[in-house]
Symmetry: C2
């Protein structure tokens, strides 16, 4: 019924070991033999069974992606980046939504382990402590994409949120804006923390007192944000820096409803940079950074980590140099960002 390596071996009059070598591009096969085998493979339309291969070799060429919600625009752009390099390296991707639930997250990790994925990319918010311990116990390479590990034990790919936040805050301070509001989603998330930290740094530098009322927490989606502008007005902000594009968009719509002029009366700039930004009127200014690339680079790094771990386990020598592009104990990689003024900033 199904063609196996054994059928190919028989037809090509070689052992299955040789067929295996041909399939895996092992150089120790005579050219003539190789061609003979290849012909048979083509004739029989043989496709190696990846499951059997995974069982025998303990490598599945599959990586797992955990993320809160695939239908989130930023997430799916990152996944697209992951997919594109996964494809180059012949890896498959298995995807699971954690729905922001750390119990589900744990189940996902379990399922990934049972499926014997070669590595995991964790997208989205910061991982819960329990999930982290769980993952560390699994001995599977993990890369965080677009989120940080406080303890700096896991690899992570991001932009330098602190620097970005510092840069943008500084720029507004230089333009004599004093009331700069930050609309973020989760106070405890590492990402938000770094953004606040960069913001404070700039404030310090300009000897402006930090006012915690300017930090508006708890807004992430368009829907949730229908009342943010009120809060912004309450604190009399001149500039608002949003962590998420949908929030920025919502604020803009609210200004339109209330007849507030943007950017004249209120300037808005977003941190997230999804393709949504290009689809609004006015066009929203942003901290430009490549969400797609964060995914792509994460996947590239992951393949390296997988290779290194494999070498380690075999006791082979391996090239730590491979990962020299990573900073901060060799765990973090920052992609470049820049401030892009569109129509919501002066």
């Amino acid at each position: 019924m199904t063609i196996t390596i054994y059928d190919v071996a028989r037809e090509a009059k070689v052992s299955m070991a040789t067929v295996s070598r041909v399939v895996n591009n092992n150089p120790n096969v005579k050219e003539a033999t190789r061609n003979r085998v290849k012909d048979v493979i083509k004739r029989l339309k043989y496709t190696p069974n990846a499951v059997a291969r995974g069982l025998a070799s303990k490598k599945t060429t599959t990586i797992g992606i955990v993320l809160p919600d695939i239908s989130d625009l930023a997430s799916s752009e990152s996944v697209s980046g992951i997919e594109s390099v996964a494809n180059m390296y012949k890896y498959n991707i298995i995807l699971a939504n954690s729905c922001h639930d750390s119990e589900i997250e744990k189940e996902i990790f379990n399922s990934f382990m049972s499926k014997q994925v070669d590595g995991i990319i964790y997208l989205g918010h910061s991982m819960s402590e329990s999930s982290k311990r769980y993952v560390e116990g699994m001995n599977i390479p993990v890369v965080l994409a677009g989120n940080l590990d406080m303890d700096n034990k896991l690899y992570s790919i991001n932009i330098d949120y602190e620097k970005a936040s510092y840069d943008v805050t500084k720029e507004f301070l230089e333009k004599k804006r004093k009331k700069i509001s930050l609309v973020i989603s989760s106070f405890e998330s590492q990402k938000a923390q770094r953004i606040i930290s960069g913001y404070k740094k700039a404030l310090d530098e300009f000897k402006v007192d930090f006012d915690s009322k300017l930090i508006i927490d708890g807004y992430k989606t368009y829907k949730e944000s229908s009342q943010v502008l009120k809060k912004i007005q309450q604190v009399k902000a001149e500039v608002v820096l949003t962590m998420f594009d949908e929030v920025a968009l919502s604020i803009i719509h609210q200004t339109q409803d209330l007849g507030i002029e943007v950017p004249k009366e209120l300037e808005i700039i977003s941190f997230e940079n999804t393709k949504l930004l290009a689809m609004t009127r006015p066009k929203i200014s942003s901290i430009f950074h490549p969400i797609f690339d964060i995914g792509a680079v994460s996947m590239r790094i992951l393949t390296k980590v997988i290779d290194i771990e494999k070498a380690k386990n075999k006791g082979e020598e391996y090239n730590e140099e491979e990962l020299t592009e990573l900073d901060n104990n060799g765990r973090e990689l920052y992609l470049p960002h820049r401030i892009v003024h569109r129509q919501t900033t002066k």
Copy 2:
């Protein structure tokens, strides 16, 4: 190092067969034994190896999703739906972007076959002829989500595009609009064909001549659409029906730039119904239909088809009745739609 079924068997003083039975909830195990085994499993933190299981049982509890582009809003919403029911049924999801390329598509199918997925969900445009033959040769259950099979051999989940198009066209004709334009993406795609067909049907009914100039082809994304309004103006359309939300949004922005009043001078209604529609000003009218559910239902149907095929292969009797919700030779399922007027139609 890794805990196997054998370790559990030894510790629990049973055979691995019994452990296997416990793990698979086979009822033929004495309660006492079952508990003993379960205790050992917990104590040893045993997790079954899904790869080995897949090899032995030829069931991987993994399904593959092929789609043109995961970062497309509609796609990711459908994937979200698939994921949510896949999760309920304990299936994992492998994802791959076809990038609209039928060569890549073929590679993906190959890779899915090699990974021994239990089924495939095909998202997006209609499958190329060659891909279809390929898939049919693979003997893996396939469900189309949000796209159609001309030959009606593959299962597919959609809304009734023809009816929806008919409904909306009719409604405008009743309101005495004559010039109704259709902005679609691909002339040959089944979906576009059905939309056109419903449109024509309504026209016929109202004895309005079909004018092919009113069908504007080749627009799908926001970016691509920056010149559509010109075309719409050239044909002097009063109403424009778009296949994709991004196009509708682009048209609206263009009307704003040109000072054309919507819906007074031009009415716009979109077919796609992504969450983008809720994030615009004015809010775009649409053929409301549940993209998420199309994914969810596809997955549900797929599990049934998988079960039926399995039963067939075993020569067991099976319940075709399971699929009675499907129409049209038992292959198609239509989800309900309705017309929702927001702010871009009168």
